[in-house]
Symmetry: C2
Subunit: 113 residues, 2 copies
Amino acid sequence: MAKHDPHLDLLFHALSDPTRRMMLNQLAKGPAPVSELAGPSGFKLPTILRHLSVLEEAGLVATQKDGRVRSCAFQPKALQPMTDWLDEQRKVWESRLDRLDDYVTKLMKEREQ
Amino acid sequence: MAKHDPHLDLLFHALSDPTRRMMLNQLAKGPAPVSELAGPSGFKLPTILRHLSVLEEAGLVATQKDGRVRSCAFQPKALQPMTDWLDEQRKVWESRLDRLDDYVTKLMKEREQ
DNA sequence: ATCATGCTTAGCCATGCTGCTAACTATATA
DNA sequence: TATATAGTTAGCAGCATGGCTAAGCATGAT
């Protein structure tokens, strides 16, 4: 029953951009330095870095610097709040269907009398 | 392997706003007219209507007008592309773990010799 | 010490988002 | 027909986003 989870804002926002999803998809295959993320995208480095920082703030990617190379790694656990939210909505929705089902059943029984 | 699914953009973006998630959560309990969505939120009607149109464009809500009242209904199927995306990322991630596991196993076998 | 490489920062531009008010349309209701 | 109700539209203000270029570190190679 979370009233307003700002983390969910960050998470969904981070995933709402195709470039960022592409980056994530690439990182899911294994960690990579920043320039390898930029390569396939066709975007300039500063642009990629901005996207990267959005992913980091959402907790989806962790980075660490080794010499002059920053290595980026996907953090799958960060997706958990999203699946939790999905489950909760499903629960609400299904309990509503159940109540509706009860209601219909009750109506039918009343008609039988 | 979808290259760029614009629908996912809409979906994630729609869910990135707490007010919209609140509206969805309310609608999951059952359909409601626009003003009942506005009520608990504290926002003005035009604001709510904008949010509503975002939810509609993402397919998450369907509305229909009956007299002067517009009734809004949650469309749970619209969440499917999101869970699909999640599953795909998980698959990529896990296959990566498997490969890593194979690699480690191979290394250990080589050490045994 | 110099140069190349990889990343970083600052700052610009166009666009989009989220809230609002004010004015309007359309449907009940008296 | 007059009035209240439910929604709609237009347009504004302020801030965020997503792209860029240009210039600035910091580290590795020669």
